[in-house]
Protein backbone atom coordinates (compact mmCIF):
# COMPACT_ATOMS: atom_id res chain seq x y z
CA UNK A 1 0.00 0.00 0.00
CA UNK A 2 2.86 2.36 0.80
CA UNK A 3 4.36 1.66 -2.62
CA UNK A 4 0.97 2.39 -4.12
CA UNK A 5 0.86 5.74 -2.36
CA UNK A 6 4.36 6.54 -3.63
CA UNK A 7 3.23 5.70 -7.16
CA UNK A 8 0.13 7.84 -6.73
CA UNK A 9 2.33 10.72 -5.64
CA UNK A 10 4.09 10.68 -8.99
CA UNK A 11 1.20 9.67 -11.23
CA UNK A 12 -2.07 10.92 -9.75
CA UNK A 13 -0.94 14.09 -8.02
CA UNK A 14 -0.13 16.00 -11.22
CA UNK A 15 -3.80 15.56 -12.17
CA UNK A 16 -5.15 16.97 -8.95
CA UNK A 17 -4.60 20.62 -9.67
CA UNK A 18 -2.53 23.06 -7.71
CA UNK A 19 0.33 21.20 -5.96
CA UNK A 20 0.14 23.69 -3.10
CA UNK A 21 -3.06 22.12 -1.85
CA UNK A 22 -3.22 18.74 -3.53
CA UNK A 23 -2.69 15.76 -1.18
CA UNK A 24 0.86 14.75 -0.33
CA UNK A 25 0.83 10.99 -0.88
CA UNK A 26 4.49 10.59 0.10
CA UNK A 27 3.92 12.24 3.46
CA UNK A 28 0.75 10.22 3.97
CA UNK A 29 2.64 7.00 3.31
CA UNK A 30 5.28 8.07 5.81
CA UNK A 31 2.72 8.92 8.49
CA UNK A 32 0.84 5.67 7.96
CA UNK A 33 4.09 3.80 8.38
CA UNK A 34 5.50 5.88 11.24
CA UNK A 35 2.45 5.54 13.45
CA UNK A 36 2.83 1.77 13.30
CA UNK A 37 6.61 1.43 13.33
CA UNK A 38 9.35 1.78 15.90
CA UNK A 39 10.70 5.34 16.26
CA UNK A 40 14.10 4.43 14.87
CA UNK A 41 12.72 2.91 11.70
CA UNK A 42 10.25 5.75 11.40
CA UNK A 43 13.11 8.24 11.65
CA UNK A 44 15.02 6.43 8.88
CA UNK A 45 11.89 6.35 6.72
CA UNK A 46 11.34 10.03 7.42
CA UNK A 47 14.90 10.83 6.49
CA UNK A 48 14.52 8.87 3.26
CA UNK A 49 11.27 10.52 2.28
CA UNK A 50 12.71 13.92 3.17
CA UNK A 51 15.84 13.38 1.10
CA UNK A 52 13.69 12.28 -1.85
CA UNK A 53 11.61 15.40 -1.50
CA UNK A 54 14.72 17.55 -1.25
CA UNK A 55 16.22 15.96 -4.35
CA UNK A 56 13.06 16.69 -6.31
CA UNK A 57 12.60 20.23 -5.04
CA UNK A 58 14.53 23.38 -5.61
CA UNK A 59 14.38 24.21 -1.91
CA UNK A 60 17.33 23.99 0.42
CA UNK A 61 18.67 20.45 0.48
CA UNK A 62 18.29 18.80 3.89
CA UNK A 63 15.37 20.87 5.14
CA UNK A 64 12.85 18.24 4.11
CA UNK A 65 14.95 15.47 5.53
CA UNK A 66 15.12 17.28 8.86
CA UNK A 67 11.38 17.95 8.98
CA UNK A 68 10.34 14.45 7.96
CA UNK A 69 12.77 12.83 10.35
CA UNK A 70 11.44 14.79 13.29
CA UNK A 71 7.85 14.27 12.26
CA UNK A 72 8.16 10.53 11.74
CA UNK A 73 10.00 10.08 15.01
CA UNK A 74 7.40 12.05 16.96
CA UNK A 75 4.51 10.23 15.31
CA UNK A 76 6.11 6.89 16.11
CA UNK A 77 6.27 7.91 19.75
CA UNK A 78 2.73 9.15 19.52
CA UNK A 79 1.33 5.65 19.46
CA UNK A 80 2.61 5.19 23.00
CA UNK A 81 0.20 7.92 24.07
CA UNK A 82 -2.72 7.50 21.64
CA UNK A 83 -4.49 4.55 20.06
CA UNK A 84 -3.25 4.33 16.47
CA UNK A 85 -6.20 2.20 15.42
CA UNK A 86 -8.64 4.97 16.24
CA UNK A 87 -9.75 6.80 13.12
CA UNK A 88 -10.02 10.19 14.82
CA UNK A 89 -6.53 9.85 16.24
CA UNK A 90 -5.25 9.19 12.74
CA UNK A 91 -7.18 12.15 11.41
CA UNK A 92 -5.55 14.46 13.93
CA UNK A 93 -2.16 12.90 13.25
CA UNK A 94 -2.55 13.53 9.52
CA UNK A 95 -3.79 17.08 9.98
CA UNK A 96 -1.21 18.12 12.53
CA UNK A 97 1.57 16.16 10.85
CA UNK A 98 1.09 17.79 7.46
CA UNK A 99 0.86 21.24 8.95
CA UNK A 100 3.87 20.70 11.25
CA UNK A 101 5.94 19.32 8.38
CA UNK A 102 5.36 22.53 6.43
CA UNK A 103 6.20 24.63 9.46
CA UNK A 104 9.46 22.76 10.06
CA UNK A 105 10.46 22.91 6.39
CA UNK A 106 9.91 26.66 6.38
CA UNK A 107 11.91 27.11 9.55
CA UNK A 108 14.71 24.88 8.29
CA UNK A 109 14.74 26.81 5.02
CA UNK A 110 15.03 30.06 6.90
CA UNK A 111 11.81 31.41 5.44
CA UNK A 112 10.96 33.65 8.35
CA UNK A 113 8.99 36.40 6.62
CA UNK A 114 5.88 36.74 8.79
CA UNK A 115 3.47 37.47 5.97
CA UNK A 116 4.72 34.61 3.80
CA UNK A 117 4.59 32.22 6.74
CA UNK A 118 1.10 33.32 7.66
CA UNK A 119 -0.12 32.87 4.09
CA UNK A 120 1.57 29.51 3.69
CA UNK A 121 0.66 28.05 7.07
CA UNK A 122 -2.72 29.73 7.35
CA UNK A 123 -3.96 28.82 3.87
CA UNK A 124 -2.02 26.42 1.71
CA UNK A 125 -0.76 24.18 4.52
CA UNK A 126 -4.24 23.91 5.97
CA UNK A 127 -5.70 23.03 2.60
CA UNK A 128 -2.99 20.48 1.91
CA UNK A 129 -3.46 19.02 5.38
CA UNK A 130 -7.18 18.70 4.72
CA UNK A 131 -6.77 16.97 1.35
CA UNK A 132 -4.04 14.70 2.65
CA UNK A 133 -6.20 13.78 5.63
CA UNK A 134 -9.12 13.06 3.35
CA UNK A 135 -7.06 10.63 1.31
CA UNK A 136 -5.70 9.16 4.52
CA UNK A 137 -9.20 8.49 5.82
CA UNK A 138 -10.13 6.82 2.54
CA UNK A 139 -7.07 4.61 2.76
CA UNK A 140 -7.71 3.75 6.41
CA UNK A 141 -11.35 2.92 5.83
CA UNK A 142 -10.64 1.02 2.62
CA UNK A 143 -7.82 -1.05 4.10
CA UNK A 144 -9.09 -1.22 7.68
CA UNK A 145 -8.77 -4.97 8.12
CA UNK A 146 -5.47 -5.27 6.33
CA UNK A 147 -4.02 -2.37 8.34
CA UNK A 148 -4.82 -4.11 11.61
CA UNK A 149 -2.76 -7.12 10.64
CA UNK A 150 -0.05 -5.05 9.00
CA UNK A 151 -0.54 -6.89 5.69
CA UNK A 152 -1.50 -3.76 3.83
CA UNK A 153 1.71 -1.98 4.67
Amino acid sequence: MLAGLVLLHFTLRPWLGNPRWSPDFLLLALMLYAIRARPGRAAVAGFGVGIVGDALAEAAFGAGAFAHTVLAYLQAWGKAVFFPENLMVNVWFFLAGTWMRDLMVMLANGELDARAMLWQLGTWSLLRAATTTLVGVVVLVGFRDAMKTGVAL
Partner: protein, 273 residues
Protein backbone atom coordinates in the same frame (compact mmCIF):
# COMPACT_ATOMS: atom_id res chain seq x y z
CA UNK B 1 9.58 -7.96 25.85
CA UNK B 2 11.38 -6.95 29.05
CA UNK B 3 11.94 -3.52 30.42
CA UNK B 4 15.63 -3.88 29.66
CA UNK B 5 15.10 -4.79 26.06
CA UNK B 6 12.59 -1.93 25.71
CA UNK B 7 15.10 0.48 27.09
CA UNK B 8 17.78 -0.80 24.72
CA UNK B 9 15.47 -0.55 21.76
CA UNK B 10 14.48 2.92 22.84
CA UNK B 11 18.08 3.98 23.08
CA UNK B 12 18.78 2.51 19.68
CA UNK B 13 15.78 4.35 18.21
CA UNK B 14 16.99 7.55 19.77
CA UNK B 15 20.47 6.98 18.38
CA UNK B 16 19.10 6.33 14.92
CA UNK B 17 16.94 9.43 15.16
CA UNK B 18 19.90 11.54 16.24
CA UNK B 19 22.02 10.18 13.41
CA UNK B 20 19.28 10.91 10.88
CA UNK B 21 18.81 14.34 12.36
CA UNK B 22 22.52 15.04 12.19
CA UNK B 23 22.66 13.87 8.60
CA UNK B 24 19.79 16.21 7.80
CA UNK B 25 21.54 19.11 9.45
CA UNK B 26 24.77 18.31 7.64
CA UNK B 27 22.91 18.04 4.34
CA UNK B 28 21.26 21.37 5.06
CA UNK B 29 24.52 23.05 6.04
CA UNK B 30 26.38 21.41 3.15
CA UNK B 31 29.88 22.16 4.43
CA UNK B 32 31.65 20.37 1.57
CA UNK B 33 29.35 21.54 -1.20
CA UNK B 34 28.13 18.15 -2.35
CA UNK B 35 24.40 18.53 -1.83
CA UNK B 36 23.85 19.46 -5.45
CA UNK B 37 25.74 16.43 -6.67
CA UNK B 38 23.95 14.24 -4.15
CA UNK B 39 20.55 15.47 -5.24
CA UNK B 40 21.52 15.07 -8.87
CA UNK B 41 22.78 11.54 -8.22
CA UNK B 42 19.51 10.62 -6.51
CA UNK B 43 17.52 11.97 -9.44
CA UNK B 44 19.64 10.01 -11.91
CA UNK B 45 19.45 6.70 -10.04
CA UNK B 46 16.91 5.93 -7.33
CA UNK B 47 14.41 8.53 -8.36
CA UNK B 48 14.83 8.10 -12.11
CA UNK B 49 11.87 5.70 -12.53
CA UNK B 50 9.63 7.88 -10.39
CA UNK B 51 10.67 11.00 -12.21
CA UNK B 52 10.01 9.19 -15.50
CA UNK B 53 6.55 8.25 -14.25
CA UNK B 54 5.84 11.81 -13.21
CA UNK B 55 7.10 13.15 -16.53
CA UNK B 56 4.90 10.73 -18.45
CA UNK B 57 1.92 11.68 -16.32
CA UNK B 58 2.66 15.34 -16.92
CA UNK B 59 2.98 14.61 -20.61
CA UNK B 60 -0.36 12.83 -20.69
CA UNK B 61 -1.99 15.70 -18.82
CA UNK B 62 -0.48 18.25 -21.19
CA UNK B 63 -1.49 16.19 -24.21
CA UNK B 64 -5.00 15.97 -22.89
CA UNK B 65 -5.13 19.71 -22.34
CA UNK B 66 -3.75 20.14 -25.84
CA UNK B 67 -6.36 17.72 -27.16
CA UNK B 68 -9.12 19.72 -25.47
CA UNK B 69 -7.71 22.87 -27.02
CA UNK B 70 -7.60 21.19 -30.42
CA UNK B 71 -11.19 20.02 -30.03
CA UNK B 72 -12.24 23.60 -29.31
CA UNK B 73 -10.26 24.81 -32.31
CA UNK B 74 -11.75 22.06 -34.47
CA UNK B 75 -15.25 22.98 -33.37
CA UNK B 76 -14.54 26.61 -34.18
CA UNK B 77 -13.20 25.57 -37.57
CA UNK B 78 -16.33 23.51 -38.20
CA UNK B 79 -18.46 26.50 -37.28
CA UNK B 80 -16.49 28.65 -39.69
CA UNK B 81 -16.60 25.95 -42.34
CA UNK B 82 -20.37 25.78 -42.03
CA UNK B 83 -20.42 29.39 -43.20
CA UNK B 84 -18.51 28.53 -46.34
CA UNK B 85 -21.46 27.20 -48.37
CA UNK B 86 -23.46 30.33 -47.53
CA UNK B 87 -20.56 32.56 -48.53
CA UNK B 88 -20.00 30.48 -51.66
CA UNK B 89 -23.69 30.76 -52.53
CA UNK B 90 -23.58 34.49 -51.96
CA UNK B 91 -20.49 34.65 -54.13
CA UNK B 92 -22.27 32.75 -56.86
CA UNK B 93 -25.25 35.08 -56.60
CA UNK B 94 -23.02 38.13 -56.85
CA UNK B 95 -21.16 36.67 -59.80
CA UNK B 96 -24.46 35.85 -61.43
CA UNK B 97 -25.60 39.38 -60.74
CA UNK B 98 -22.55 40.73 -62.51
CA UNK B 99 -23.13 38.43 -65.46
CA UNK B 100 -26.75 39.45 -65.52
CA UNK B 101 -25.64 43.05 -65.44
CA UNK B 102 -23.55 42.43 -68.51
CA UNK B 103 -26.54 40.99 -70.34
CA UNK B 104 -28.95 43.76 -69.47
CA UNK B 105 -29.30 46.56 -71.97
CA UNK B 106 -30.75 48.85 -69.30
CA UNK B 107 -28.71 50.70 -66.72
CA UNK B 108 -29.07 49.33 -63.25
CA UNK B 109 -27.93 49.75 -59.68
CA UNK B 110 -27.03 46.88 -57.40
CA UNK B 111 -28.53 46.81 -53.93
CA UNK B 112 -28.48 44.66 -50.86
CA UNK B 113 -31.65 43.52 -49.15
CA UNK B 114 -31.69 44.86 -45.61
CA UNK B 115 -34.61 42.89 -44.31
CA UNK B 116 -35.89 39.66 -45.63
CA UNK B 117 -39.53 38.78 -45.23
CA UNK B 118 -40.71 40.12 -41.90
CA UNK B 119 -43.61 38.80 -39.86
CA UNK B 120 -46.76 40.71 -40.76
CA UNK B 121 -45.26 42.17 -43.90
CA UNK B 122 -44.39 39.34 -46.21
CA UNK B 123 -44.70 41.25 -49.45
CA UNK B 124 -42.11 44.00 -49.16
CA UNK B 125 -38.36 44.31 -48.97
CA UNK B 126 -36.05 47.15 -48.02
CA UNK B 127 -33.06 47.56 -50.33
CA UNK B 128 -29.97 49.73 -50.00
CA UNK B 129 -30.45 52.01 -52.97
CA UNK B 130 -32.51 55.16 -53.23
CA UNK B 131 -32.91 58.41 -55.07
CA UNK B 132 -29.23 59.28 -54.74
CA UNK B 133 -28.52 56.16 -56.79
CA UNK B 134 -31.04 57.09 -59.45
CA UNK B 135 -33.78 54.74 -58.32
CA UNK B 136 -37.31 55.75 -59.30
CA UNK B 137 -40.73 54.47 -58.32
CA UNK B 138 -41.96 51.51 -60.38
CA UNK B 139 -38.43 50.49 -61.22
CA UNK B 140 -38.21 46.72 -61.82
CA UNK B 141 -36.20 44.74 -59.32
CA UNK B 142 -34.53 41.58 -60.55
CA UNK B 143 -32.30 38.84 -59.25
CA UNK B 144 -30.14 36.41 -61.23
CA UNK B 145 -33.01 33.94 -61.31
CA UNK B 146 -35.67 36.35 -62.49
CA UNK B 147 -38.10 39.05 -61.44
CA UNK B 148 -38.43 40.00 -57.79
CA UNK B 149 -40.91 42.88 -58.00
CA UNK B 150 -40.93 46.66 -58.35
CA UNK B 151 -39.96 49.68 -56.31
CA UNK B 152 -43.04 51.07 -54.59
CA UNK B 153 -41.43 53.83 -52.51
CA UNK B 154 -38.07 55.55 -52.72
CA UNK B 155 -36.11 57.31 -50.01
CA UNK B 156 -32.72 58.93 -50.33
CA UNK B 157 -30.69 55.85 -49.60
CA UNK B 158 -33.23 53.04 -49.39
CA UNK B 159 -36.23 51.80 -51.29
CA UNK B 160 -39.25 49.68 -50.55
CA UNK B 161 -39.81 46.87 -53.02
CA UNK B 162 -43.12 45.18 -53.58
CA UNK B 163 -42.37 41.60 -54.44
CA UNK B 164 -44.39 39.38 -56.74
CA UNK B 165 -45.99 37.85 -53.65
CA UNK B 166 -47.97 41.05 -53.14
CA UNK B 167 -51.67 40.47 -53.92
CA UNK B 168 -51.73 43.48 -56.26
CA UNK B 169 -48.75 42.34 -58.32
CA UNK B 170 -49.41 41.90 -62.01
CA UNK B 171 -47.04 41.47 -64.92
CA UNK B 172 -47.70 41.09 -68.58
CA UNK B 173 -46.12 37.79 -69.59
CA UNK B 174 -45.28 35.68 -72.55
CA UNK B 175 -43.71 32.31 -73.07
CA UNK B 176 -40.04 32.29 -73.99
CA UNK B 177 -40.90 31.24 -77.57
CA UNK B 178 -43.36 34.15 -77.74
CA UNK B 179 -46.23 31.81 -78.64
CA UNK B 180 -48.58 32.40 -75.70
CA UNK B 181 -49.27 35.55 -73.69
CA UNK B 182 -51.04 36.15 -70.42
CA UNK B 183 -51.01 37.97 -67.10
CA UNK B 184 -48.91 36.72 -64.21
CA UNK B 185 -50.24 37.22 -60.70
CA UNK B 186 -49.51 35.64 -57.32
CA UNK B 187 -51.60 32.71 -56.26
CA UNK B 188 -53.16 34.08 -53.10
CA UNK B 189 -54.53 31.63 -50.59
CA UNK B 190 -54.07 30.44 -47.09
CA UNK B 191 -50.48 30.71 -45.90
CA UNK B 192 -47.49 32.32 -47.57
CA UNK B 193 -47.59 32.87 -51.29
CA UNK B 194 -45.10 30.63 -53.05
CA UNK B 195 -46.64 30.15 -56.46
CA UNK B 196 -47.69 32.27 -59.43
CA UNK B 197 -50.56 32.00 -61.84
CA UNK B 198 -50.53 32.68 -65.56
CA UNK B 199 -53.99 34.02 -66.23
CA UNK B 200 -55.97 35.08 -69.25
CA UNK B 201 -54.23 32.59 -71.48
CA UNK B 202 -55.96 31.99 -74.80
CA UNK B 203 -58.26 29.03 -74.62
CA UNK B 204 -56.78 27.25 -77.63
CA UNK B 205 -53.22 27.42 -76.38
CA UNK B 206 -51.66 24.49 -74.63
CA UNK B 207 -48.64 24.86 -72.33
CA UNK B 208 -46.73 21.90 -71.04
CA UNK B 209 -45.02 21.65 -67.66
CA UNK B 210 -41.66 23.41 -67.55
CA UNK B 211 -42.48 26.03 -70.16
CA UNK B 212 -40.53 29.18 -69.41
CA UNK B 213 -42.55 32.37 -68.97
CA UNK B 214 -40.94 35.80 -69.17
CA UNK B 215 -42.11 39.40 -69.04
CA UNK B 216 -43.53 40.58 -72.33
CA UNK B 217 -42.48 44.22 -72.05
CA UNK B 218 -46.06 45.45 -72.34
CA UNK B 219 -47.39 47.88 -69.79
CA UNK B 220 -44.28 50.00 -69.50
CA UNK B 221 -43.03 48.71 -66.14
CA UNK B 222 -41.02 45.58 -66.84
CA UNK B 223 -38.75 45.25 -69.85
CA UNK B 224 -39.17 42.22 -72.03
CA UNK B 225 -37.35 38.98 -71.26
CA UNK B 226 -37.14 38.89 -67.46
CA UNK B 227 -37.86 35.38 -66.28
CA UNK B 228 -41.00 34.94 -64.22
CA UNK B 229 -41.23 31.19 -63.80
CA UNK B 230 -42.10 27.87 -65.35
CA UNK B 231 -45.48 26.27 -65.92
CA UNK B 232 -46.34 23.58 -63.42
CA UNK B 233 -49.81 22.52 -64.55
CA UNK B 234 -53.18 23.70 -65.77
CA UNK B 235 -55.06 25.16 -62.88
CA UNK B 236 -58.39 26.31 -64.29
CA UNK B 237 -60.13 26.31 -67.62
CA UNK B 238 -63.07 28.42 -68.65
CA UNK B 239 -64.36 26.70 -71.75
CA UNK B 240 -64.37 28.97 -74.74
CA UNK B 241 -62.79 31.83 -72.81
CA UNK B 242 -59.39 31.35 -71.18
CA UNK B 243 -57.10 29.13 -69.17
CA UNK B 244 -55.17 29.68 -65.95
CA UNK B 245 -51.88 27.87 -65.37
CA UNK B 246 -50.07 27.36 -62.10
CA UNK B 247 -46.43 28.48 -62.22
CA UNK B 248 -43.31 27.85 -60.18
CA UNK B 249 -41.66 31.23 -59.71
CA UNK B 250 -38.21 31.75 -61.17
CA UNK B 251 -36.96 33.13 -57.90
CA UNK B 252 -38.42 33.51 -54.45
CA UNK B 253 -37.72 36.81 -52.66
CA UNK B 254 -36.87 35.02 -49.42
CA UNK B 255 -33.92 33.31 -51.05
CA UNK B 256 -32.29 36.49 -52.35
CA UNK B 257 -29.84 38.77 -50.58
CA UNK B 258 -28.75 41.04 -53.47
CA UNK B 259 -30.80 42.51 -56.30
CA UNK B 260 -30.46 44.76 -59.29
CA UNK B 261 -32.79 47.72 -59.68
CA UNK B 262 -33.28 48.63 -63.29
CA UNK B 263 -33.08 52.33 -64.11
CA UNK B 264 -34.77 54.23 -66.92
CA UNK B 265 -32.94 54.00 -70.22
CA UNK B 266 -30.33 56.66 -70.82
CA UNK B 267 -31.13 58.77 -73.90
CA UNK B 268 -28.80 57.94 -76.75
CA UNK B 269 -27.52 61.50 -77.11
CA UNK B 270 -27.03 62.20 -73.38
CA UNK B 271 -23.36 61.26 -73.62
CA UNK B 272 -22.72 63.91 -76.23
CA UNK B 273 -24.41 66.68 -74.32
Amino acid sequence: MTLGSDSTAGSRDTMIFVVCLLLSVVARADPVGVSEELASGLRRTVLAPLIYLQRQTQLIRDRRAEFDRLVVQRDSAIMRASEVPRVAAENRRLRALLQLGDRLSLPFVAAEILHQVEPGDQHTLIVTAGTRDGVRRWAPVVAPGGLIGFVSRVDRSTSIVHTWTHPDFRASAITADSSVAGIVAPRVGIGPTTLLELREVAHLSDLGPGTLVVTSGLGGVYPRGIRLGRIRRLEEERPGLSKTYLMDPAVHPASVSHVLILLPPVPADSGRA
